[in-house]
């Protein structure tokens, strides 16, 4: 007898994007993890098979959608598929192999009751060997994937070199059941609902802001024949996304970290302040700004090691006067973010439903153009045997963004930070990203140098 479970709020978020945009591509996640060393591919295959046993989320299948497009999930006992080995070692260089893998990342898992996870072992150019894993985000988020890949390499080095056996992982199904039970807790639900509705009671309808300025909202107002419209259209057809990465050097990165440490701020909140100040600057000093911020809901050991898709986004809405000084503004953001964390078991779709109910928000419009993920975990595999070996790990974009701009900020091995801007090419160009990064940095560094300066002055000076 098989157990069927509904999707969690985090899974539903991805599922709704698939349903609304009509393609599973929007939910794809792909990574290559490799080392510049010989690998025993027979053993690696065994370890991958063991990993699919250890990580229950890799064995999640979805039922056929019902008439409303909803699916249920179940976990198959075993994944008996063979793991293919592809030899790309004769390709010109790693970059060429990456280009090919980027094409694989665009592929979709189409169908019901099928595996949504695929491993491919790889011989790569320049002496690298490893594997490519392609999954559906309803099964796993980026943090979960980093942990799973680390676990797999630990299994490999345990059997190959006798290093420590990886610690036991929490059981995905057990944690899933707990999450669903938590979501079904009526008292908790009522508190979370109240928090989100109180915010609307206090602030009213949010107001769209765009890095291209107020003209975007004006166009939407004309299109909908409503001069008071406060949400703008989102792209539904051309979802192609390009990626532009910028590297912030270790020195300036340390300055940001020190500022956070000295003022008991988290990096997420400092970044949110940088983004919202830029949005305010290019929208004639707009004070009411909302940014969607992704939260990786992993706090307990169980949550960290159970895999699954736990990342969920919530609107971080702040109304901050331009007279507010930089540090006070950072604390305002921190205050609201902390409260959001406390109510992050809520399904964000219900927030949108409430907005639609209260303000008759037109279909396919949004109050946000900007999405942020701050990823404090390194992509690098931490392993005592692999510590000295050169690694090549790379995330591949799925090529179909549901978001106009999606910024992922992560730390790099050299002590710097990477700012990875995924932007919809239907509306934005690389030059927009150059401006955005340039001004974000100017705002952040002006702010941390003179935290008593008002946001208005900072906007004027940068």
């Amino acid at each position: 007898m098989r157990d069927y479970y509904p999707l969690t709020a985090a899974q539903k978020m991805h599922h709704n994007w698939i349903r609304d945009y009509g393609t599973q591509q929007v939910s794809g996640v792909s990574v290559v993890a490799s080392v510049q060393a010989e690998l025993d591919f027979g053993l690696l295959k065994k370890c991958i098979q063991m990993e699919t046993e250890r990580s229950g989320c890799t064995r999640v299948h979805f039922t056929k959608p019902d008439q409303d497009g909803n699916v249920k999930q179940y976990i198959v006992k075993q994944d008996t598929r063979d793991i293919e080995l592809k030899d790309l070692s004769k390709m010109e260089n790693l970059a060429k192999a990456d280009e090919l893998m980027q094409q694989w990342a665009y592929e979709t898992f189409d169908g019901d009751n099928i595996p949504m996870c695929e491993f491919t072992m790889l011989k790569l150019p320049e002496g690298y060997n490893g594997f490519f894993v392609h999954m559906d985000h309803r099964l796993i988020d980026s943090c979960g994937l980093v942990i799973m890949i680390g676990d797999l390499f630990q299994l490999y080095t345990y059997y190959r070199y006798g290093t420590a056996h990886p610690q036991e992982l929490a059981d995905f199904e057990t944690v899933l059941k707990k999450d669903l039970a938590k979501a079904g807790n009526e008292k908790r639900f009522a508190k979370d609902k109240k928090f989100w509705e109180d915010q609307l009671d206090a602030l009213g309808e949010p107001l769209y802001s765009d890095i291209q300025g107020p003209s975007v909202l004006e166009i939407a107002r004309k299109r909908h024949g409503n001069p008071k419209l406060r949400s703008a259209d989102i792209e539904m057809d051309n979802l192609f996304v390009a990626v532009k990465d910028y590297h912030l050097e270790p020195g300036p990165t340390q300055n940001l970290i020190d500022f956070c440490m000295n003022h008991q701020l988290s990096m997420t909140n400092l970044l949110l302040l940088g983004i919202r100040t830029y949005l305010s600057k290019v929208n004639n000093g707009q004070e009411d700004i909302t940014i969607q911020n992704f939260i990786s809901r992993r706090s307990t050991h169980e949550e960290w090691t159970s895999g699954g898709s736990r990342t969920i986004m919530f609107p971080c809405r702040t109304v901050i006067s331009s007279e507010t000084d930089f540090l006070s503004a950072a604390y305002e953001i921190q205050n609201i973010q902390n409260r959001i964390y406390m109510h992050s078991n809520y399904d964000p779709e219900l927030i949108m439903e409430e907005l639609r109910k209260r303000y008759h928000t037109p279909e396919h419009t949004s109050y946000e153009s900007f999405y942020l993920t701050y990823q404090p975990m390194p992509v690098k595999v931490e392993n005592e045997m692999l510590g000295v070996v050169r690694q090549h790990a790379k995330w591949f974009a799925n090529g179909a963004a549901t978001k106009k701009i999606y910024l992922t900020v992560s730390h790099t091995e050299d002590g710097g930070m990477n700012f990875s801007y995924h932007y919809q090419t239907a509306h934005l160009e690389e030059h927009d990203m150059e401006l955005l990064y340039y001004y974000m940095m100017r705002i952040l560094f002006k702010g941390i140098a003179e935290p008593d300066m008002s946001l208005g002055e900072i906007m004027e000076q940068v």
């Binding site: 908790r188 307990t300 921190q334 964390y341 992050s344």
Partner: protein
């Protein structure tokens, strides 16, 4: 299990410290490695486990295990 032990068992799920090694003067962030998200999730779990309702403005001031236990005692 008494309230204090139940409380420390929950704390231990969020940190690398065993329940019996958790002392009242330990600070959530600096000594136990809680992030803001960890701390707020933890408070939510306290509310559910002990069936209490915490004042958000009050809980933001909590720094140590002892302070959190004191707050919990006030509900008894």
């Amino acid at each position: 299990m008494n309230q204090e032990m139940k409380f420390k068992n929950i704390v231990a799920q969020y940190s690398n410290v065993a329940p019996e090694e958790i002392t009242n003067n330990m600070r959530f962030r600096e000594d136990l490695g809680f992030s803001s998200l960890d701390f707020m999730s933890f408070l939510g779990e306290l509310e559910d486990t002990f069936d209490i309702e915490l004042e958000e403005s009050e809980v933001m001031k909590i720094v140590t295990i002892g302070e959190a236990l004191e707050l919990l005692d006030n509900f008894q």
